[in-house]
Subunit: 151 residues, 4 copies
Amino acid sequence: MSERSAFRFAHPFRVRYAEIDGQGIVFNAHYLTYYDTAITEYLRHLGFDYEAEVKQTGDDFHLVKSTVEYLAPIRFDEEFEVGVRVPRIGRSSLIFELGIFGKGETRPRATGENIWVNTNQTTHRPVPVPDQLVELIRGLEDEALELARPG
Amino acid sequence: MSERSAFRFAHPFRVRYAEIDGQGIVFNAHYLTYYDTAITEYLRHLGFDYEAEVKQTGDDFHLVKSTVEYLAPIRFDEEFEVGVRVPRIGRSSLIFELGIFGKGETRPRATGENIWVNTNQTTHRPVPVPDQLVELIRGLEDEALELARPG
Amino acid sequence: MSERSAFRFAHPFRVRYAEIDGQGIVFNAHYLTYYDTAITEYLRHLGFDYEAEVKQTGDDFHLVKSTVEYLAPIRFDEEFEVGVRVPRIGRSSLIFELGIFGKGETRPRATGENIWVNTNQTTHRPVPVPDQLVELIRGLEDEALELARPG
Amino acid sequence: MSERSAFRFAHPFRVRYAEIDGQGIVFNAHYLTYYDTAITEYLRHLGFDYEAEVKQTGDDFHLVKSTVEYLAPIRFDEEFEVGVRVPRIGRSSLIFELGIFGKGETRPRATGENIWVNTNQTTHRPVPVPDQLVELIRGLEDEALELARPG
């Protein structure tokens, strides 16, 4: 189980009333919205211009798999962070590891993983992760990053 | 206040667990999703092909105003209908009147209104509501429809 | 139409990818979520402890009406603020006036209003707005506030 | 990969405009809402009264893990079904296997799994899945069900 210290990047949130269910805790689907939003902020933090990349190359990332493990509930109005890190880059795939931490906490309320595959929008076939993005991630994650490609 | 009998068209729903809040009742923002979904079904019921119209004319409807009046809560798992009718068509605008009714009930749990304006996508100026749509609405609403245009 | 300067309080947001629709702009229902979230922050800013008040008095506010006027779209990833102010307090009712402003902009992308009525949870009848809340709002809004009660 | 025929129960849906993203396809978080809603319908189909069970026993199911595999996108206005089946019941846990199928299709657009654990609300410790629910699931799933308990 990933501790808060495993993440060099995290994005802060506060639970909206719109996000809780009849038990006063965050409804499960919203975890994926938190994950998605935090990944956008991770890429912004890296300095990666997603939209420019898509326009220039005609390639785009597809989400192929999401996993959420719910460890402890998150309540209305709580402040929390979503940690994001990339533990591994494959030829065409990126793995985002995710962790939700109550403000100031070290043990996660939830963990998860989103797997993206870079795809040519015309042929619908996997294409390599852009070199620029690999370099930006390597710059942040450093020795914690596993690369499945010669590099 | 509109009774159920005022609506010649209504679309059935059942409250999803994702849609309730900490008090076990539907969170207010979801009323607009119900309204939007019911209007889509109203147009389908009329036989109006929204996407084909947009593609052919380059015009598109913009939502310019929404109103919701909350009269009685809707609870998890309840079945309800959203009544939709068009009481008035202006030159460029359509008014959708909306009512939410518990299954088998005649008095609304909520009422509302969405106002659409047909707009040219290039000039961003209002353009007339398509004749075909006016005729389809007139066919359904009949003498209950007020037309603000020579017809 | 309310300018940005009409609001002494505003809460910052950034559009999540989960909130846009097929045209790349914020879907209408999310405006109500933004309004609701900004009102929570307004009450926090005032120092009003909503949950303590409900527990102590057994009274609770009900949302009775929402209005949204959509003036210009909000796009994915845009930063914006939701201005909140209370222009008028009735005996049992609070009116929240709302405005959405692109970052640094003075003219609204959307305006709106939420009307709350304070209600006894046992009798379901309207009861006065708590004096403490009236004073806190008066302290913030000052001469811009209209009070419909002797005070 | 589960074919449509693997599921004895499926619940129909149609994509709401509120559920699509900037690419015109269902945003990933909504898959979990579809899964949750379909599981509610599966339990209703079995004749299991979830709320009565919670009230009577003081036990409640917690969602501990969700997985979604996205195989092909689902577009605005598409009709689809979510298949639900329980391949395995542990002492305290239920595994729901899920599949999303375009109307009339046999190969899934998405698959997934939700794992529930029955928990005592006072001690927060796992407790056995209610016998009544085990029998109802066995009645539907028959020889396709694996039971991890003497039975």
